[in-house]
């Protein structure tokens, strides 16, 4: 990388703020669109790139291909009717939406959920984190041409989905965390089957560790790719593993403890240099931590208990006027729901703060510059972005 940079610095000329001077009329640049239909882009968004050779000179991100207007739809739905809707905001990781929505309306309505429900929610969120990471890992390795790892990680992800299926009744959209609690208890023998699945996950992760992190191709391409400096963390509102890899120990689970996380034993993992390689490595370590947390939860949680608070009639549930912001640490960083109620049976405003919004739009535009076009896909996946949550 460093050698290449030496030549690149000579052309094109720079503006005083350090940006490249681009003159498309000079025919020295290529203007290409990567996406929205492109396997290297995570989901439905596109990058408008200006290249010089195969180096990215400027990058502009475009969203709007997946706008479903969830926030607006919710304003016309009763609180309970929003519950099956919110999970669709982030497809591979729906449970954080369910949790944030449920927790925010519970807070506004003054409902305290039973302890068992809190444990169940914690369990679901950790399972969801692991499952989401497994999917991301497939995308990440695929973006660097290591398709086989995607097959392994998606196989064990499927085993995790089996566990979700027996616990919640749904594989992709679990729709399990409902305002007031959760929709059921642990099925009989769940702990044992979960342990088997976790062992499968660990086995796959062992293989992945040796084939991905000790892989010369991956190392060559991912090291020093898309460096996020600690200064950029504040500037760009970076959260989650992207920030932690830069040495900024931000974790909602520790900073603003929620559910049963204060009772669990874990540390905020950090690194010193947030390039693509280290971000992937940090997430890989977080997956191991997630496996450990699931085990801890299953040991510590009570065997039975109430899982639903006594609720008013959901059909005409009105919530007093108020506003709140509820956050949770998802795989990509801080996930938050800003909810405003006006005393009616409908949310007045719900604003979903997905970490992908900052990571995939502004941060990506900055990091893509000077990167090889072949690496944009790997770079984008290393930021771990899900476009559905950008467009709510």
């Amino acid at each position: 990388m460093a050698d290449l940079k030496k030549y690149r610095d000579k052309f094109p000329d720079k503006n005083p703020d350090g940006t490249n001077i681009i003159d498309l009329e000079s025919h020295k640049f290529i203007h290409v669109w990567q996406g929205p239909q492109h396997p290297g882009i995570t989901g439905n968004m596109s990058l408008e790139l200006i290249l010089q050779g195969d180096e990215v000179m400027s990058c502009k991100t475009h969203v709007g291909y997946l706008h479903r207007g969830f926030e607006k739809l919710m304003e016309r739905r009763k609180f309970i009717q929003c519950f099956p809707l919110v999970c669709r905001i982030a497809v591979p990781e729906p449970d954080f939406n369910e949790y944030c929505f449920a927790a925010s309306v519970e807070e506004l309505a003054g409902i305290k959920i039973p302890e068992y429900a809190e444990w169940m929610r914690t369990l679901i969120l950790e399972m969801s984190r692991l499952t989401s990471f497994l999917m991301w890992l497939g995308g990440q390795s695929g973006a660097f041409g290591l398709g086989i790892i995607a097959q392994w990680s998606n196989l064990v992800r499927d085993y995790m989905l089996d566990r979700f299926e027996e616990l919640t009744g749904g594989r992709i959209y679990r729709m399990f965390i409902i305002p007031g609690g959760v929709r059921g208890t642990l099925p009989e023998g769940f702990e044992g089957r979960m342990e088997e699945t976790l062992k499968e996950v660990e086995r796959a992760m062992k293989d992945i560790e040796s084939t991905l992190f000790s892989n010369s191709i991956f190392k060559l391409r991912a090291k020093d790719l898309g460096i996020i400096t600690p200064e950029m963390v504040e500037q760009y509102g970076v959260t989650g593993p992207n920030a932690r890899a830069a040495g900024v120990a931000k974790d909602v689970r520790k900073d603003y403890p929620y559910l049963k996380y204060p009772e669990l034993d874990f540390e905020v993992l950090t690194d010193t240099h947030s390039d693509a390689y280290n971000r992937v490595w940090l997430r890989f370590r977080e997956m191991k931590m997630s496996v450990d947390l699931i085990r801890q939860i299953l040991v510590k949680m009570p065997k039975k208990g109430d899982f639903m608070a006594k609720m008013p009639n959901m059909l005409h549930w009105k919530i007093p006027k108020g506003e709140t912001y509820v956050r949770a640490e998802c795989t990509r960083g801080e996930y938050g729901f800003y909810t405003v109620t006006d005393g009616s049976g409908y949310p007045r405003r719900v604003n979903v703060r997905g970490p992908s919004y900052t990571h995939a739009v502004a941060l990506m535009e900055k990091l893509a510059i000077d990167c090889n076009i072949a690496d944009t896909a790997g770079l984008m996946t290393s930021l771990h972005t899900y476009p559905p949550e950008i467009e709510r």
Binding site: I80, F83, T168, G169, M175, T211, N313, M314, L315
Partner: protein
């Protein structure tokens, strides 16, 4: 970068010899026990309340008529039709299902080349998954609405058993709103209520704390809300969708709550009673009971000139002279009637038609007549000894209590009858016994055993609390009289009350007998009517039904066009039916008078 970094990726090759994780026969894979797959609906349990339709955020559910499902009491006859092009399998419909009929199987494969078939009625189309045991069911201890009712505060037995103070205290605002919150607005009660009151609408008004709107809705179909809010037989509650998972809604108490909240001075403003156009046609109403009052109210609102003829000194009919004050205080009854008086309805009391004024004269003076004179004659068991002077009819005694007369109450009393009238007289006499002798010695006996007794359950419970002894399932044989004094009642075991065709035809076991000691016996086994004033005085003959009640059409019009008849004498059983009859008669009379 090291040699390891070059070589270790080749570890991937070891997977070549591993079993693949892919399922070889994916179509045979079974969904998990809780899997939210295709819907199942138990057609027999489903009552078509449509709550699933109300909660579905995708509007995927439509309530549709289904072949083989009849509309009947407590069942709309409709069943949910689900559009799988819209369904998101969240299962909220299953969670909210009031009867628990809706569930989801664990089946998830359904292939067809006709897109129309994916809009289907679960349970009605013989799908392979209809009887799947596995699949999503609503878990126990998980409800999307409160299942138990807000308990009504009542006077304690020791505080009420000597007095006639109203027992039920009524809901506070907070309690009423909490109870009203439980309604799922299915409207099955509307169809069952004889007057078809807008029950979900007025309950909604309570939720919104809009008493004026609530009162308007009440008066659309019922001008006696204070009465019905206290003593209605509440058929609505027996079909309420809430009863399947818990208690039915306290519809009657909620109605009372609205009526109690609004002072009578505001009625005219709220109900807009000043605006109607006066007509010059005159209508006579015979009987100021619920039927007559209801007809008077609606006819007055149509601008007719109304005269109500009442044999007694006060209006209200059976609601005043039959129902004891601890259930319906007279001032509350007066409130309802006062508003009808305020509308300009003229009442003529102490005037018995057929005696003080003839039917012919009424016909001559008026354009139409509505008669709702009710059942005032007590029926006797006619067993030996009933002609004794210490054998009484419940209706006569209750009437005397209302009139303020002191009634005969002996130390030991037996009441025969298992209906609400029997309960009323038993509890009334128990109070008087308490006042007079300081203790209650009253046995209530009926043909029906306690589980099939026609009286309301709460009446049975409350009578017991007031020390009435209920010993049911006996038929009276004779009254034991010695030295011209009643000693008691001989009874024999009653095996069944109705025959196979549902007719009253009790069967007894003569060998199983019992004796109830008593100084006084009260019969409360039903009432008869006296309509001689109609039949004797008229030239035309009044058509009767097979059950010997006056035959009327859907608008309460009898076989004589100017004569409309309603209430108990046409076969009604309670105040709300009479109110509905009165309302129908008002419409019928309006139609009849505007024909010419």
């Amino acid at each position: 970068m090291s040699l390891k970094d070059v070589l270790s990726p080749f570890l991937a090759w070891k997977n070549v010899v591993q079993e693949p994780g892919t399922i070889k026969k994916p179509l045979e894979r079974e969904g998990a026990d809780r899997y939210r797959g295709f819907h199942q609906n138990d057609m027999e349990t489903c009552i078509g309340c449509g709550t699933c339709e109300a909660i579905c955020q995708n509007a995927a559910i439509d309530m549709v008529p289904v072949e083989g499902q009849e509309t009947k009491s407590g069942d709309s006859g409709l069943r949910p039709k689900i559009d799988y092009g819209r369904c998101c399998w969240c299962g909220l419909c299953v969670d909210i299902c009031t009867t628990g009929s809706l569930s989801m199987s664990n089946e998830f494969k359904w292939v067809d080349n006709d897109p129309e078939v994916f809009r289907f009625v679960p349970g009605a189309e013989n799908k392979p998954w209809d009887n799947h045991e596995k699949g999503y069911r609503k878990p126990d201890n998980y409800e999307l609405y409160p299942t138990s009712r807000v308990q009504m505060e009542e006077l304690k037995p020791e505080d009420r058993d000597k007095s006639f103070i109203e027992i039920v205290k009524g809901y506070s605002k907070e309690q009423a709103i909490k109870e009203a919150d439980r309604c799922v607005e299915c409207g099955i009660c509307i169809a069952t209520c004889p007057a078809h009151m807008g029950i979900p609408q007025y309950i909604k008004a309570i939720r919104n704390d809009d008493m004026e709107e609530g009162l308007r809705i009440l008066y659309e179909t019922n001008p006696l809300p204070e009465v019905c809010g206290r003593v209605c037989t509440h058929n609505c509650e027996t079909v309420c969708a809430m009863q399947y998972k818990g208690d039915p809604l306290s519809i009657r108490w909620l109605k009372r709550y609205i009526a109690d909240q609004v002072p009578i001075e505001k009625y005219k403003d709220i109900l807009g009673a000043d605006g109607f156009e006066q007509k010059d046609k005159k209508i006579a109403i015979i009987g100021a009971g619920p039927g007559g009052l209801s007809a008077a109210y609606y006819l007055a609102n149509l601008g007719y000139q109304i005269k109500v003829y009442e044999a007694m000194a006060e209006p209200g009919g059976m609601t005043r002279y039959g129902i004891p004050e601890y259930r319906l205080p007279y001032d509350q009854l007066d409130k309802d009637i006062q508003y009808i008086k305020d509308l300009g309805v003229e009442f003529i009391f102490n005037t018995r038609v057929g005696k003080d004024i003839s039917m012919k004269k009424l016909h001559k003076e008026n354009d139409a007549v509505f008669s709702a004179t009710g059942l005032h004659l007590g029926r006797s068991t006619r067993v030996a000894g009933t002609d004794h002077s210490m054998v009484f009819q419940a209706v006569d005694l209750l009437r005397d209590v209302t009139d303020g007369k002191e009634i005969e109450v002996a130390e030991k009393v037996v009441v025969i009858g298992g209906g609400n009238v029997a309960m009323d007289i038993a509890r009334t006499m128990a109070r008087i016994q308490n006042q007079k002798y300081g203790k209650v010695q009253l046995i209530l006996t009926s043909l029906e055993t306690e589980d099939v007794m026609p009286a309301d359950l709460e009446e049975i419970v409350e009578s017991r609390e007031e020390n009435v002894v209920i010993n049911a399932g006996w038929g009276p044989k004779d009254i034991k009289i010695e030295n011209d004094k009643i000693k008691g009642l001989n009874v024999i075991r009653c095996l069944s009350v109705f025959d196979e065709e549902g007719r009253f035809n009790p069967k007894f076991d003569k060998d199983d007998s019992n004796f109830f000691e008593a100084d006084q016996i009260v019969e409360a086994i039903g009432q008869g009517m006296d309509i001689n004033y109609m039949s004797e005085d008229l030239d035309e003959e009044l058509a009767m039904t097979e059950r010997n009640r006056v035959k009327v059409d859907a608008f309460s019009q009898s076989s004589i066009p100017w004569l409309f008849v309603g209430g108990d004498i046409t076969g009604g059983t309670d105040a709300i039916t009479a109110i509905a009859d009165g309302h129908r008669a008002a419409k019928g009379i309006d139609k009849y008078l505007n024909q010419a």
